[in-house]
Amino acid sequence: MFDFLDSGQYDLLGAFWVTAKLALYSALGSLVWGTALVAMRVSPVPLMRAFGTAYVNIVRNTPLTVVIVACSFGLDQTLGITLGGGRSEDIGFRLAILGLVAYTGTFVCEALRSGINTVPPGQAEAARALGLGFTQVLTLVVLPQAFRAVVAPLANVLIALTKNTTVAAAISAAEAAFLMKEMIENEADALFAVFAVFAFGFIVLTLPTGLLLGWAAKRLAVKR
């Protein structure tokens, strides 16, 4: 039943490696973008607050497939923006990261905002009284504690992101779901085995992530 794995025709580990890379780069990107967004959402400048709120609410409520396909359709095929990628797989990979960062950033932002709410307001007030500016209050006092409070929710976001990478198959990024489509096309007699292999692959990727970050969340949380 699983003989298709031994045929040497499919590079299963290679495909999951691309999935892992997609997830990793997108995770780093969305962490940065999400932090920037949350800074906007709590900033004293009304225009930035308005932008942050509008962006989060619009992008968070748009289906990921639409975001990713829009990257390929709008940016690559219509405007010719390739982010410096040469071949199609390359362009698809880069655009997929862009789309995933734009989308996942909103969830990171909202997780962090809830983390900021765990920091007692007195701390920010005390920091202000000492003469720290907004950036200093945020980066030195509030965000470090906020991050430690939201490790567990961020782990959720990371797991969701790992699974969301499958959408990138729609725009030519050669990750796991992409290989799965090839297998489904060729292995009509072993469809459920194909699904089982890929479900198993994703569990291998996400289960340790959840366990590790769950352990880290307990260690890092600020005891109040």
Binding site: F73, R87, K181, I184, A188, A196
Partner: protein
């Protein structure tokens, strides 16, 4: 790469998956009362397309109607079911549909799961290019070109492995998405079965914009998929197909659905007994 250890580990996961699928059965007839369920594509112009007003149009649809009529079901007795490529075998095996007419190429792997009547149409993998593009005339030209096809499709794999390994192949979710790139000159050619390409090129909004190159890069025999071992139904469908060819309906339908694209179609293939 040796993946023996991977496959061993996967076997464990399969136990889970298989117990989950065991409860997926259901009715086994494919026809409820006096109605008949037929699987077609809903998204392929020229072959099987659900139109905005809820009717169905295309060559596969008309073939299915003809066969159903020969089996004793008039048009209003047909229940159309969507049969996406990945689900065709299961729809047939679970009895959700009586038969599937959905650009279903006959292959040995598929024959292990279902039986095929027909073939009723022979087509080849071909290229669709912009009407004014004369730079592609043979397969070797492809290595320096940007191609587009649907993710994981047989046509895409053919290009990657056999026809033009050096070509830059973009793989998107659907053929219509490739057309945008082709129109905007982001890709040079769209590749898949000529019948599907002809369907797109024949659409009103695309007429005159694209043309088929006419390369015969593979043989695809479209068959009508049905439940394994149902020789009675298979015989009846084959008879209906033979009649369709001999009374001229086949020719008429092919002209009607693929004509506007200038597609040089093959004569009706002989029915495999």
């Amino acid at each position: 790469m040796k993946l023996r250890s991977v496959s061993a580990a996967a076997a464990a996961a399969a136990v889970l998956a298989l117990t989950a699928t065991a409860c997926g059965g259901g009715s086994d007839s494919g026809s409820n009362g006096d109605k008949i369920n037929i699987g077609i594509k809903f998204d392929q112009p020229g072959l099987g397309l659900k139109t905005p007003d809820g009717t169905y149009a295309g060559f596969d649809v008309d073939v299915a109607k003809y066969v159903a009529k020969e089996l004793g079901y008039s048009e209003d007795k047909i229940n159309w079911k969507q049969a996406p490529s990945a689900e065709r075998e299961n729809l047939i095996k679970n009895g959700d549909v009586k038969f599937v007419v959905a650009s279903y190429s006959i292959s040995d792997k598929r024959k292990k799961e279902v039986d095929f009547a027909g073939p009723y149409f022979l087509t080849h993998q071909d290229l669709l290019v912009r009407a004014d593009d004369k730079s592609i005339t043979k397969v070797e030209d492809l290595n320096s070109k940007k191609l587009c096809s649907v993710t994981g499709s047989t046509s895409a794999q053919n290009v990657k492995e056999k026809l033009a390994p050096k070509a830059d192949l973009q793989q998107l979710g659907g053929y219509s998405e490739c057309l945008t790139g082709l129109e905007n000159k982001r890709v040079d050619a769209l590749t898949t079965d000529a019948s599907i390409l002809a369907g797109y090129a024949s659409q009103k909004e695309h007429q005159g914009k694209f043309k088929l190159v006419g390369l015969k890069m593979s043989d695809e025999n479209y068959g009508i998929g049905l439940k394994k071992g149902d020789d009675e139904l298979r015989g009846k469908i084959n008879k209906a197909l033979e009649k369709m060819v001999s009374d001229g309906t086949w020719e008429k339908l092919v002209k009607q659905h693929f004509g506007p694209s200038g597609y040089q179609y093959e004569p009706a293939p002989a029915i495999a007994k």
